[in-house]
């Protein structure tokens, strides 16, 4: 008896060990290739396979929704997941591991940017095929990406700088409305603003400008919060920024020129998948550059000990205000994307509910970390969608999960981890021999 249980334990340990070795040997390139195979497989045979398994159509979010709605279909949903995602992903990743390691090493001989762009291209292809399956997926994807940008920008303030800001929905609203007014006035025939001033086809090239305008307006709003609240440390920022959020909301509700409480529609749908993807990647790149520079690290110094930062020549006041405006800028850009993805904005969207959502994403994912923001935003958005069939219980499960994270990992799932693109794309093991 002793011996058998002992052997079982060793077996289990070696199993885990095997999986660990397996994971550690596959480079990112291999995983992307595996994922690409999986989504391509789903794109071509997903629907027929789902029919064979007794489902009316392919499960949209990894089978969760189907499992919760019709428990009878759990086995088929699991089988579908295994056949479409798990097997191709792990098989391709495993089989291609050594070749991909060599390829990743080869790519690193060129400037880093080449390697990064190839990875991003593959990643985009995965997202593209995955979301081509249905409009629902395409929407989930776009809004999740926008949530990533918003979460990361809030992380700059609440994580990197260690202040507690509540005004992000306000900044997002400013960005959304500013960008919308810009595009609607210039490029759309609208009841509020009349006919378009410039031809439609020109507009797409103006969209980056619209986003930047949105970001800048949000930054100007942020200045109004920053100047009074960064004179001292403490809870001032939390209170002033909360007030700011409500002021922005009621301001928009009472401004008939932007549609008042009815909201503003007719935005051209320029925030399509590639535009959102590129903007979000650009945002992550710039924010990550900033927080890894000494100027950005100064935020951490200010957070951990402001007096010491001052004594070490760091201009603390300028550092805080710059970071705050910078974060507001990206929140504004996220707002602009959101408005053009939904093609309608409404002041009620940017209230306390949105605030709770973003804060949950930041603290769930992890403070002071780009990975954390990505994980937090994707995790909370996807969980929200997956648990939708549970209706009311969704609002019990997600907060419960948050509480658990706070108990076991008080700073979030992946906190205080540097995002280094080079480490991400490099091969996981030295190639065995030269080709």
């Amino acid at each position: 008896m002793e011996v058998t249980s002992d052997r079982l334990a060793t077996d289990r340990r070696s199993m885990i060990g095997y999986i660990r070795v397996f994971i550690s040997e596959v480079p990112l390139l291999g995983w992307l290739l595996g994922a690409l195979t999986a989504v391509a497989l789903e794109f071509f045979i997903g629907t027929p396979l789902a029919r064979v398994l007794g489902m009316s159509r392919a499960p949209m979010l990894f089978g969760f929704v189907i499992m919760l709605k019709k428990p009878m279909l759990i086995p088929s949903a699991v089988l579908y997941f295994l056949l479409i995602y798990f097997l191709p992903l792990s098989l391709i990743a495993r089989l291609s591991a050594s070749a991909m390691n060599r390829l990743a090493a080869k790519l690193l001989e060129f400037p880093l940017i080449v390697s990064v762009l190839i990875h991003l291209g593959l990643f985009y292809a995965v997202l593209h095929w995955w979301s081509e399956m249905s409009l629902y997926r395409a929407d989930v994807l776009r809004f999740t990406l926008i949530a990533v940008l918003l979460t990361l920008s809030l992380n700059v303030i609440n994580g990197y700088m260690g202040e507690f800001s509540c005004s992000h929905p306000g900044f997002m609203a400013l960005g959304a409305y500013a960008a919308s007014v810009f595009t609607v006035v210039l490029f759309a025939d609208d009841k509020l603003y009349g006919a378009a001033l410039l031809p439609q086809w020109l507009g797409f090239f103006f969209f980056p400008i619209a986003l930047i305008v949105g970001g800048l307006v949000a930054s100007i709003g942020a200045l109004a919060v920053a100047i009074p609240s960064f004179r001292t440390r403490g809870d001032y920022l939390a209170i002033i920024s909360l007030a700011f959020m409500f002021i922005v909301k009621s301001l928009i509700e009472n401004l008939e020129i932007v549609g008042g409480p009815r909201g503003l529609g007719d935005q051209p749908g320029w925030a399509n998948r590639p535009v959102v993807f590129i903007t979000v990647v650009l945002g992550i790149w710039i924010i990550n550059n900033f927080v890894r520079s000494t100027l950005g690290k100064a935020l951490n110094a200010v957070r951990d000990n402001e007096m010491a930062a001052d004594a070490m020549t760091v201009n603390t006041r300028r550092t805080k205000i710059t970071a705050f405006l910078f974060a507001a800028f990206w929140a504004g850009v996220a707002g602009g994307l959101y408005a053009h993805a939904l093609r309608y904005v409404n002041p009620a969207t940017f209230g306390i509910q949105k605030l709770a959502e973003v804060l949950a994403m930041v603290y769930f994912g992890g403070l002071n970390s780009v990975y954390g923001s990505i994980v937090g935003a994707c995790g909370i958005s996807l969980l929200g969608e997956m648990l939708r069939p549970l209706e009311l219980f969704k609002w019990i499960i997600i907060p419960l999960l948050l509480i658990l994270v706070m108990i076991f990992r008080p700073t979030g799932l992946i906190a205080f981890k540097e995002f280094d693109a080079k480490k991400l794309v490099q091969p996981k093991r030295k190639p065995d021999g030269e080709i």
């Binding site: 900033f290 520079s293 000494t294 951990d304 000990n305 001052d310 004594a311 020549t313 603390t316 710059t322």
Partner: protein
Amino acid sequence: MALLQIDAMTHYFGGLRAVYNYELEIEPGQIRGLIGPNGAGKTTIFNLITGIYRPTEGKIFLEGKELNGLSPHEIASLGIGRTFQNMLLWRHMTVLEHVKMARYSKLTYGLTGAFFGTARRHREEAESEAKAHHLLKMMGVDKFADQIVLNLPYGAQRRVEMARALAMDPKVLFLDEPTAGMNPEELVQMMEIIRQIHGELKLAIFLIEHRMKVVMELCERIQTLVFGEVIAEGTPEDIQNNSKVIDAYLGKEAVE
């Protein structure tokens, strides 16, 4: 004019007179000491000079430039580096990041460099990293460079703090009880380090200390502060034999 000169500095906390009529002149390359019982106002003097408090009266000059009214980071970048009595380190940052941070005012790449990672940024960051490694080696803590600073032993943390203060290329280095909480062995090492940086970098050093051994061996001139007033100033021998100093430290026997 001396490198650092302070004229008749007085400071009140509300109605409490913390520092009264304090005068100081530090010449380049000098090591000065400031001693005194607990609560005499030694750290307050440091905080007044480095701009954390603003003196109620009196003027402070560094190389003839008036420091009154400047903010702490401006005073620091003019050339006053300091360490703190209770080691104000940044708990989530690595040792290397600590030392690089003190090069903040030397960086010229600005926000463009920070956002877009320009060539100039990479060059300047590499330079400050090289400088930081050099200082860490000098302090003998280079092997901890990538560690979070709180994981280091106490003595090493003190050295990191000193390396950080040196990274800003100060003209005067203020050390606030550099040997606090150290055992005799660490104390001797720390004194050796202070001598070494004084020798190599030709810095003026202004030091607060409780341990007589340290001040007596290192300093050229010593001031004794009691209740915010300097009661004695002179060479270590003068101070050791000064009856007022002995009274202040040991108390006077009541003779009625």
